[in-house]
């Protein structure tokens, strides 16, 4: 499904997913660079098996609302980049597939004080073969662990880049997004060379 030409003014949408555990700074990360205030959008899940203890649940219905935060960045070359924050709670991982579909790649935000919070995201992107970059959110500029320690703790191979950023700082976020695209480019080109 490559390069569907636009019928309208010629803008092309692209997206990058921002994942990580609950409270790791995904919305902050998106908000640091988005040209709009991060917006929240909802999908209603009518299958009761996903749990009824979510925010909107009441005794009379079996619907669950999954909220997703997103931001938008207009780029040159008639491109619009959307950033999607994944729903934080584990039981909403079924929504991630839709978010990851068609994504250039993903950022897995990590808080080294709660490193295990990102395991689910890493498992998901590895299984789905979505290119991802691990971005350690260094709150207040503190680098609590080195790259090797983080790589060891996450049990990821040398091919996944690990970078450090402050999710509140625009240039940091910009750099991480560039890292994601570069990583995907590397993967696409090496796969093309191998085939």
């Amino acid at each position: 499904m490559a390069s569907t030409p636009s019928e309208s003014t010629g803008l092309t949408p692209v997206k990058i997913v921002v994942a990580g555990g609950f409270g790791v700074g995904k919305t902050t990360f998106v908000g640091a660079i988005s040209e709009i205030e991060p917006l929240r959008s909802e999908a209603i899940i009518t299958d009761a098996s996903y749990g009824i203890d979510e925010v909107t649940a009441d005794a009379t219905k079996t619907e669950t609302t999954v909220a997703m935060d997103f931001g938008r960045i207009s780029l040159k070359h008639q491109l619009v980049l959307y950033l999607f924050g994944t729903p934080g709670q584990d039981r909403f991982h079924f929504m991630w597939d839709e978010l990851a579909r068609g994504a250039i790649g993903a950022v897995v935000l990590v808080d080294t004080r709660r490193i295990e919070a990102c395991f689910a995201a890493i498992d998901f992107f590895e299984k789905r073969r979505t290119p991802f970059v691990v971005a350690v959110n260094t709150f207040h500029g503190q680098r609590l662990h080195g790259e090797d320690e983080v790589r060891n703790a996450l049990q990821i191979g040398p091919e996944a880049p690990i970078v450090f950023c402050d999710a509140r700082v625009r240039v940091d976020v910009q750099r991480v997004l560039g890292n994601v695209v570069e990583h995907t480019l590397d993967r696409v080109m090496s796969e093309a060379a191998a085939s």
């Binding site: 569907t4 309208s8 609302t65 070359h77 959307y82 839709e98 068609g102």
Partner: protein
């Protein structure tokens, strides 16, 4: 208070899928969350035929707006926007631009590589 409104959209209290006649979008090819909706000249001419959310979608799509943005701005679930937008496309009132390519698919590599390079260039130029 005996019951809570199930959703509150644009000053009107209505169950979300009554706007779509109960259709949830199942069976439609899934429109991507980031797909861009743009009103057509024909859509502008017929805009007075549409009510409520459909009229809002027309109004908001004068500049290209993603499905997920429409859902957030109209405060309705994404599935509702998908169904209504697909209806509007069928009537020729809007166009929907799907994302150009998918990583990991059978996408043609030179085209995808070129797109990625443009995205990278765009990010670096921010």
């Amino acid at each position: 208070m005996t019951s809570m409104p199930e959703t509150h959209a644009g000053g009107r209290i209505v169950r979300p899928y009554t706007m779509t006649g109960g259709r949830t979008g199942v069976g439609h090819p899934m429109i991507a969350l980031e797909a861009l909706v743009a009103v057509t000249p024909a859509g502008m001419r017929m805009r007075h035929q549409f009510r409520w959310e459909a009229a809002e979608i027309i109004a908001r799509s004068r500049s290209e707006t993603a499905i997920i943005e429409l859902a957030a701005l109209l405060e309705v679930p994404i599935g509702v926007v998908r169904v209504l937008t697909a209806d509007l496309r069928e009537k020729g009132a809007v166009t929907i631009t799907e994302p150009a390519s998918e990583s990991g698919s059978e996408a043609d590599t030179p085209g995808y590589t070129e797109l990625l390079q443009k995205v990278l260039d765009g990010i670096n130029a921010l």
